[in-house]
Amino acid sequence: MRVPGGTKHSRRRRKVLAQSKGFKGKRRNCYRIAKQSVIKAFLHQYQARRLRKRDMRRLWTMRVGAAARSHGLSYSKLMGGLRRADVRVNRKMLADLAVHDPQAFEELAAVARESLEV
């Protein structure tokens, strides 16, 4: 026997089409194609949430490196120096200090330089 699924059927479709809002061309309104792109979009979202963490760490590294260079240290020298001095400020906070509190960063750079000289 055929099971007529009127409301169920259209609800299921509407759920997918609601998620394909803002897509381009048929990807927005054509159910078959929209369904595929929605699946793909979720996959990309999932990957992007993980990639973001790596991207941000790379950005902090670049910023800390740029700031270190303005104090006459390379990135690796700075990090090595801080490690030796047992300063446990992470890259994110170092990058933040470099932007918002250059003085604090300068002091940290001085600490790193001192610990390298010993």
Partner: protein, 147 residues
Amino acid sequence: MQKTYMAKKEDAGATFAREWYVVDATDQPLGRLASKLATVLQGKHKPTYTPHFDVGDYVVVINADRVKLTGKKWDQKVYYRHSGYIGHLKEIPYRTLRARHPALPVRLAVRRMLPKNKLGRRMLRKLKIYSGPDHPHQAQTPQPLEL
């Protein structure tokens, strides 16, 4: 969680400034000069560097026709470009290009080191290249850039 700083248009002059620099290209090796210029144009030398935003400085290059080429590049360096049509790969030896446009080698070298997108093209607009020792940007009081 605290948000990482991202440069915005409104922050220009506040958290980051767009400086003006001047560089004398006389006897500077072309590629080394260009990589330094590309860094400054992109703002990668600043702690406020933001990949999707232009925080770079302006750079005025003077004596751009007097850059140095190391090795045999003076005779051997060739610029290639392809028109898209079969058999239309154009070759221009460095010597010819320089004779036609004395300052172009510097511009090309930097352009190829910048990101190949809209932002990169905007960054390139901050690079002002002149073949003589003079430039019309005195009003911006550019500071000498150490290489």
